[in-house]
Structure formats: C-alpha cells, structure tokens
Amino acid sequence: MTHLLDVQDLVVKFRLRSGDLTALNGINFTLNPGERMGLVGESGAGKSVAGFSIINLISKPGFIASGRVLFEGEEISAYPLEQMRDIRGNRISMIFQDPMMTLNPVLTIGTQMVETIMAHNKVSVTHAREIALEKLSKVYISSPGKRLGQYPHELSGGMRQRVVIAISLLTNPSLIIADEPTTALDVTIQAEVMALLLELCRDDNMGLILITHDLGVVSQVTEKIAVMYAGRIVEQGPTEAIVSAPRHPYTQGLIKALPQGGGGGGRLHQIPGMMPNLTSIPPGCAFHPRCEHAMDICRRETPQLFGDGQTPGLVACHLYAQTR
Amino acid sequence: MNLWKRFRGSYFLYSFLHDPVAMGSFIVLALLALSAFGAPLIAPHNPYDTTTIDIMDSEIPPVWMDNADAKFLLGTDAQGRDMLSTMLYGMRISLIIGIGATFLQALIGIVLGLVAGYKGGRIDSFLMRMADVQLSFSTLMVAIFLSAIFQAIFGVAAFESMAVPFLVLVIGIAEWPQYARTVRASVLAEKKKEYVEAARVVGLPSARIMWRHILPNTMSPILVLSTVQVAHAIMSEAALSFLGLGMPITKPSLGSLINSGFDYIFSGSWWITMFPGFLLVLLILVINLLGDWVQDVLNPKLYKG
C-alpha cells in the first residue's frame, strides 16, 4: 500500500545575511490514507515550517535544501510551481490559524467558494454554487444560502473558521494540513470546530496533519503524534502511547507542565530554560541544556530516532540507546 | 559607549551601508551642509561686505566662458557679487530657515498632536478642526498675507532685518498640522498598548505618560516626516523669496538669488539664475532621497512599490 504522505529526510533552511539557518533538520514520517497525525511543539520548534514545506509553501528566504516529499506515490517536492499549484488547494488543503489568511475580505463567501471550485474543476456557476451550499451545510452552517452572500467580516470567528474548512473541502482533498486552526478561538467554539474536523476526516477518509502546541486537542483528535524540538522530531508514535507514557524527557516535561484536572494547586513541573534560538542550537542533543538526564554523550552526539521493537513509537534520546 | 556599540550593530547602519543611493545622498548633503555653514571660512568672497563689491564686476560669466575673471569661479551677479560665495551664503540662509521652520512646526505639532491624541474627546476634535482650518490655507497664501501686513506696519527696512525669524515663523505656523496629524495618529496607536496602561496603573500623571512613554515611541514617523518637511520648508522659503516676499536681495537666500537673476536670463546672464537653481534642486533632491531611505528603514512593513 502506498502511503498518503511520505516525508523523507526533509531539510529546510533559511538564507539570512549571516548565513544559512537550518529550520528543519531531517524530518521523516509517513501518513496512511485517512490517518490523523499531530505535529506538536512550542513556537520555534519548526512545526509550522514542516507543514508549509510539505506543500512547498515555504516563502523566501526559506528553501528546501534536501529530502523528498511523496504524496500518493508522487514526488511532489520535485514538482514545478505550476504542477504544485494543482495539488495545493486541490488534493491537499491547508487551514490556517487566522481564517482571514484564506478569506478575502472584499469578496463574498459565495464568490470565493465558487471561484475555488471553478479554478480546479470544469463546472458551471450554478453547479459550483450547489457544491458550495452542500459543503457549507456539511460544516453545520445555518442558512447556508444567506451566508453565500455575506462578507467574511459579517461572520463570527468560529463561523469564519468553519467557512474556511468548508472551502478546504470543496475539492474533496485527501489530506488536510491544519496549522493551529483553533488557537484564536474560544474553548466552546474550539471544541465544536475540532469535533467537526474529526467527523469530516472520518466520514471522507481524509488524512489530517494537525499542527498545534495544544496536547489536549491533539490527544482528542489524532491517532499518532510527532513531537518536535528545535527543528527535529524527538519522539513519534501512537497518540495513546505518547500521552500516557512519554519517553523523551522533553515530551515528559511538556506533559507534566500541563496543569491537569484535580491539581491541588501545587507547583507545576517546569522545564528549566527555553527553546534555543535556531541560530544557536546546542551541539549534540539540542535538548541537553534543559534535560535533567543529560549525559556526556548527549553533549557530543545528536541522537537519531529509533524504535526498540517492544514499545510502539520512535524516540531520539540516548537514554534508551543504552538498552538497545 | 554603549549607545555607540548599539548603533554599530544596528540594522539602521547596516541598511545604510548597503544602500548606495542613501550613502551618496548623505555624502552630498553633508558636503552641502558643511560648505553652507562653513561659508565664512571657505567662500572666496564675503557677499555681505559691501566694501569688497565692485559694481564694475557685475555679470561676469563663469571661468570657462569668454570675458571671464579667474577671481570669480562661477561668475558674478548683477551687483558684482561672486556667485559661488553668494550661493554658499544663500544656501546657509535657506538651510537655517528650513530647519528652523521645521523645528517650530515640530514643536507646535508634536505638543498639540500629543494632547489631541492622548486626551481625545472634545479637545481632540477642537485641535484637529483647527488643523483642518490651517491646512485649508496654503503656506504661500498665509505668508503673502502676513508679510504684506508686516511690511505695511513696520516698513520694508524693519522687514529686511527681521526676515529670517519672520520666515521661520510663517512657514512654521503654516505647516504644523502635518506634525499634529502624524503624531496624533501614532499616539492613538500607542495609547492602546499595554505599557501605557501599565504606566496608568502605577498612577503616573498624564503629562509624564505622554512625554516619557508615548512620545519616544512616536519618534520614527516624526523623523520620517521631518526630512520631508525640511525639504518642503526650504522650497516654501525659495518660493516666497522668488515672489519677493522672502529674503531681501542684500541677504539673499537661494530663492531670492534665483529671482534676482531672472531679469537677466534673457540678456544672456543665465548663470545668475541657473546656478542657484541647480543647487536648490540638488539640495532638495538629496534630502528627499535620504527621507525615502529613512522611511524604508523605519517602516519595514510599508509596501515597497
């Protein structure tokens, strides 16, 4: 079976006046059709860069330095811009944190949806409108006919994000990349939007890459997780396994730092220090200055992702290399 | 020392050193300003000293033409003054008036803009309507009107001695709304930021919040505007002097020099008008080019067309 998405050794660099900066340092993962994956990390971990580089949307001065991205068996990372454009927004859709990145404020919802459909399919305007109506009702937008005539600013934040999801569904994509889709929304609306996304993915067997810092949301929606730190994946595996028994010290720290239900108001576990700047990533394991288990080897050698064959998932940490 | 180190590592300096137009403009402007303010030292003649001026030397062409005199590099004007020296002294007056007027504009505009933006409400409406009224008179109209009144009351002789402060005042008053509007707009933006609220939570009086906290954060647009306004003020002064309402011919600015030579342009003495004209264009051009660069550096978000 071919994977829906197969990312191999992806390296993304940024060309700056002081030299090249490595934002993504050899990312590997696969996604099966209909599989939902969470890409988790703090700001600066490179999770958004990873999402953007899959569809080659890295803007200057960033560029893909090496590695391949295979989508349904095609090597899309080698595609020229024209061909890429055909895949983007057609077979792969993207949802951003800010709905206004997708929506044009001076055009009505209807115009934007019809345009999107007609750009990728040869259909009449009336047929395109029908498709738009169908997708709007699919995301539970009340009176979709009325919404088609409205402008983005007339809708509330949650409604806008639902319209964006409806737009991303227009071309029946097989993969959706959602970059912090609910970060700007309130909790009740976040729950609604995420539940909707989950339902749609299940119904149409769509793949989902959910880029977020919120482990709670990820554990509700996804089947597997990749945790990123300073441009690398430090741990990946099935969601339950990672959430209930994280192995990488960073993942452990991240989960322990979350205020969890029933907390008696005591001190929270805190990871000392902060994520290194991309310009000054420490040698060896990038996490070692903040890690309580740091050993000599951690300062010298960068650990690679590996599995031990017993526990599901992969981890990039020297702690587990000893038992190998 | 710390400040110097910060400056050396700053983006400001970096972008300056990587922009040949900005560097070129800056060098030309620096040379012009230096020679203008150093005029008494470097000018070969003193155009203000009537004893050194001989009417017999009038309208001598520049050295590369026939009938030239090696003493006068760029020739002489109708009164026998050395063109080069007169232009240097004239540029000095133009720069003094331009900078002085801009300072006055900035002073009035910043204070009123700050108060209008921070206090809001009726004070804001009142000050901004005042600015609108002021802007609906053109600078020239105000200046013509006021200088006519001034000359009628105090006489032409008094006007000649008071010309520089008078022009500073007229151009300064006519253009303050530019500053007031710019400052008010950025105060409105800054006022919403949380550091201002933090200062209010501390209980600082509004005057202190305005001056110590908000004003330093509105400096970028003020700096950008200032370059434009200096160029503008120099041009206004030149226009007034050209119309005969500005600097008298005994203490000419670039504008009055252009004007004085205008009568002779068809009798063949083109240099009396053309040289100061070129100098004025060059001066305005380099200031504007430098202003464009400052704007690019300080507003990186600005769309570069």
């Binding site: 703090e42 700001s43 509330s156 949650g158 409604m159 309130d186 909790v187 009740t188 609306i189 976040q190 729950a191 609604e192 995420m194 539940a195 989950l198 810092h213 919120d214 482990l215 709670g216 949301v217 554990s219 509700q220 339950e240 959430v243 209930s244 720290g253 991240l254 989960i255 730092a257 979350l258 205020p259 969890q260 239900g261 029933g262 907390g263 108001g265 001190r267 929270l268 805190q270 990871i271 902060m274 994520m275 | 710390n2 409406s125 930021k193 949380e194 550091y195 609220e197 933090a198 200062a199 209010r200 939570v201 501390v202 209980g203 600082l204 009086p205 110590r212 330093p216 954060n217 400096m219």
Partner: protein, 340 residues
Amino acid sequence: MKAHTTEPLVSITNLVKHFDISGGFLDRISFAGGLPSLTTTTVKAINGVSLDIRQGEILSVVGESGCGKSTLGRTVLGLYPPTSGKIAFRDMRIDNLSAQDMLPYRRRMQMVFQDPYASLNPRMTVRQILEEPTRFHFPDLSTSQVQDKVAEVMRQVGVDPAWAGRFPHEFSGGQRQRISIARALMVDPEFIVADEPISALDVSIQAQILNLIMDCQERFGLTYMFITHDLSVVEHISTRVAVMYLGTLCELADKKNLYGDPQHPYSRALLSAIPRLGTKGFSHIRLKGEVPTPINLPTGCVFHTRCPHVNERCRNEIPKLLGRPNGSQAACHALEEGRI
C-alpha cells in the same frame, strides 16, 4: 484589625460599565420615521457584577472573549471609570476618588498584562522600567536604595540583575513576562490583577510563570484576580472561580465545587469543552447559536438565547445570583426552580 481569610480585600458592588461607541456627531444622526434623531450606541461590557475578592485568595475570572472579564479587571483598578456601582478596597470606596486621593491605592493594586511584547515600553531599559514606579511612589528612597530594590526584585522573579541595562526586545517572551511581574512587585502591592498573563506563552514557559505567580502569592501574601480563558490553568491555581458571560456573573464557586459540580448551564457547557489529555473524541455540550453582541443584550437572562433549559421567565426576568446547596452561587431561574 484581624486578617481573616474570608474578609474581603476588594468588594465590587453592582458594577456596570458601558462604553459609548457612537462616534462623532455626524455618525450619530439617524432617520427614524422620517425625522432626524441622535442615536447612541453603547457596548454593555459589564452589567451589574457583585463580587468580593478575599484577602489572600486567587480569584479566577473565566469566560470567553467578549464576556467583559478584562474590562472588569481594568475597571477595578480604575483604568476605566465605572458607569455605576461601587468598588471598595478594604471597605474604603475608591471608584470616585480624585487622581491624587487614588495614589495610595495605586501602589497597593497592580496589574500584569497579557502581551509581554506590548506591556513593556520598548524605548526604556529594564532598569528604567522598574525604577520608575518605585521612585514615583517612594520619593524618599535614595538612588542606591532604589537600585538595590531593582536588583532584589529581579532576582525574585528569576531575571539576572546584570541584565538591567538591556532593552525589552533583547528578552524572550517568558523573561519579559517576569519583568512585567517585577514591575508590579516593585511597589509592594497587596492586590494584583493578572490579565491573561500566560496565554501568549509557550507551554513549558507557562508552567514557569504560573509557578512564579504562585510563589509570589505565598512569599508576599498577595491577593490575585486572575483573568483567563484557560480553564485547566484555573483549575490548577485558583481558590475560587467566577464564570462570566456577556458582562454578567453566571456562577461564583470554590474551585472544587465548580469543577466537580458545575451549576449554571453555561458553566457546564464551558467545562465540558476543555480539551483533556488522554480522552478520545469529543463529548462536549453543544450550545446552539452564537454569543449575542453586547450592544444589543438579550432581555432577561443573557444566556437564554443559547440555553437548553430556557422558559418564558428566563426571557423576561434577569436571574439573581443565589446560593446553591453545594455552596456555590449561580444566577439561573432553572436552578432556582429546580428544573435542572
């Protein structure tokens, strides 16, 4: 006077705050029924909130965007004058004081802001930022005393005092938030309003700042009003929680009561929507429709347009905050009538 845990430090009584957003004269002219008339548009941000903040507690105010929680904090601190109602600090009414009379209270009540990038003046060094409030409120201190205090407070919040000469942009978001807390601590306050102090920070940094906030409470006996939308944080740090919706207090309860046994239908919906680690899928209570605009408030209970238990009385009569058997207070007719 005895310090007692149930003694109110700050009392808010029937607080109302409306903002006039009508704009200029020309914007206000409307033609109703053929005749020109002046209309006023007001945002009803807070509508009659009564609340005591007890000495030494962390009272969290939660609610979704637009519920008036930030306005409440700012009005309590006197950043906005209240439209009506009373605010008292240790039984002394402070909402109607002149700027001069307010000064001693300014020192005792401080604020920590949400955006660590906007809350520090970019043109001032950290030393200037920290010295200013101290010099202003303690003019008798000598220069060296002020400097000692800056160094001491910087150490307390975990920022190296050697960095005092730097500008805010040279620090990371977490460090800036520490500096922001340091500025509040510089004047030895008793009460701090923290307006979403961690929502702009990364998860691992959030824990650091939350710990710092709790440490300060312990060390200086501070009382907090903690404004946030993050319900899992609230569960961790608060003593009591106030749930707000559209400028109204829905429920006021001890943390345990609220999370174990939420009363108000809105609190129930809100709590069910918290993303929990290790739960699959969603089981949140779906609310119909959207939050109405605070310009045109619904009549009666502000929540009635979305409430699953609405009846005629809810549409007409504003519910009062009443005690519940479990010790919580909630404003709901359905609860009062025993319908839910």
